[in-house]
């Protein structure tokens, strides 16, 4: 892998990481960061919606069912590891499990950019899966932390999760893309599609800066969290490869599904856990998901998962 084969958006991440580690005063103003993430979410939603407009919804139903089921399942796989190997208390284990069971939109965007640069085709409706995978892990996280206690006001929790910025923008973009179709959105494509990679570059610059702030708190939690932050995505990506090939996804689509499984949330889930499982230490889960798993996935993970996917498709 030569230097110039690395996507420039990754360099923006590394640049931000370096600037952050050096304690440069560089930063993306907070409202610009909000704009940039809004645009990413809307674009991903729109792309998924356009694809939905292209094919009958019924065809996707089996895929949707499997993906949602996986969203509920994944947190259960790692919860015992965190609780009994990592020796974290119950709320912390539940919260971290929710982060890793859910998905990272930024990681998804980098995977899409990776495929586009290499002209690898994939099912564009993957964006729908981002939405589907975002939420179940949050609910499981809350259950794991408290048990199925009657105290939990589920309607309030669902409300907060569904109406959070991230989910709203993804779903909103999806629906707008769906009703408008490919020709309808043409007039707004200069902002949402042509600028996508540039906007992603700015986003990753800030992600690098934020990641840098997580590194110091990471030291405190040591080796277990580090290993967990790298092994979980690898294991989950393999599950993703299996599920993706079973669902007859393309090589590219399988790799993206693997990336989604491998990714850990750092926007929607932290906010939801802070409100619904306040006893959990937010630094713990964030430093793992942002400080280890996010950089691992976008730099090393995605190429590996694509190689996995090629291998699996060659086997068949």
């Amino acid at each position: 892998m030569s230097l110039s084969s690395i996507d420039p958006v990754i360099w923006f991440f590394l640049f931000g990481l370096f600037a952050g580690v050096m304690k440069s005063e560089l930063r993306l103003p907070s409202q610009i960061y909000e704009l940039v993430s809004m645009l990413l979410l809307l674009t991903i939603g729109l792309k998924g919606g356009i694809e939905l407009a292209r094919q009958p919804f019924g065809v996707l139903l089996p895929q949707i069912a499997v993906i949602v089921a996986m969203g509920f399942l994944l947190p259960f796989i790692i919860f015992p590891v965190l609780r009994y190997v990592g020796k974290f208390n119950r709320p912390d284990s539940a919260s971290i499990a929710a982060h890793y069971g859910s998905v990272s939109v930024g990681t998804f965007a980098v995977a899409v950019a990776y495929m586009n640069t290499r002209n690898i085709v994939f099912e564009e409706h993957m964006a729908l899966f981002v939405v589907l995978l975002e939420i179940p892990a949050i609910l499981i996280g809350i259950i794991l932390s408290k048990g199925m206690s009657k105290d939990t006001q589920w309607s309030k929790v669902m409300n907060e999760v569904m109406l959070g910025r991230g989910v709203m923008l993804l779903v909103g973009g999806l629906l707008i893309g769906w009703v408008s179709g490919p020709t309808g959105v043409e007039s707004i494509s200069p902002l949402f599609f042509d600028l996508f990679k540039g906007i992603l570059a700015l986003f990753l610059l800030e992600m690098g800066l934020i990641t840098a702030t997580q590194l110091s708190s990471l030291k405190k939690y040591g080796l277990f969290l580090f290993a967990f932050g790298i092994l979980t995505p690898i294991v989950f990506s393999i599950i993703g490869i299996i599920v993706g090939t079973s669902l007859n996804l393309s090589t590219g689509g399988t790799a993206i599904l693997a990336t989604l499984f491998a990714s850990a949330s750092y926007i929607a889930v932290p906010a939801a856990m802070r409100i619904s499982v306040p006893e959990a230490n937010p630094t713990l889960s964030l430093s793992a998901s942002l400080g280890i798993t996010f950089p691992f996935n976008i730099i090393i993970g995605i190429p590996i998962y694509y190689a996995f996917s090629q291998y699996a498709h060659n086997l068949l």
Binding site: S30, Y33, L209, I210, T213, S217, R274, P278, P282
Partner: protein, 103 residues
Amino acid sequence: MKNENAKLITIYTESVLESRLIDDIEEHGAMGYTISNAKGKGSSGSRAGSWEANSNIRVEIICDANFARHFTQHLQKTYYDNYGMVTFTSDIEVLRPQKFCAQ
């Protein structure tokens, strides 16, 4: 010459609590509140305000001594264990103190 006829509660806390605090304030019957953005550092670490999960708000409530006592106790009981939060009260002088008595 000192004239204090009202209290000002100031709260520094995590942005994520904003809508919950607003509900609390209204349920407790305060006549108003003012909120602004902030960043800071305290016993629960540094909150540099670079993104949402990491920024603070500063909430101010003009009220009477009674409300101040009850509301700060409510905050302590409800949030101090699990959230970064600092609260203090100061004496102020307003023009129409009755405007700020809790209902």
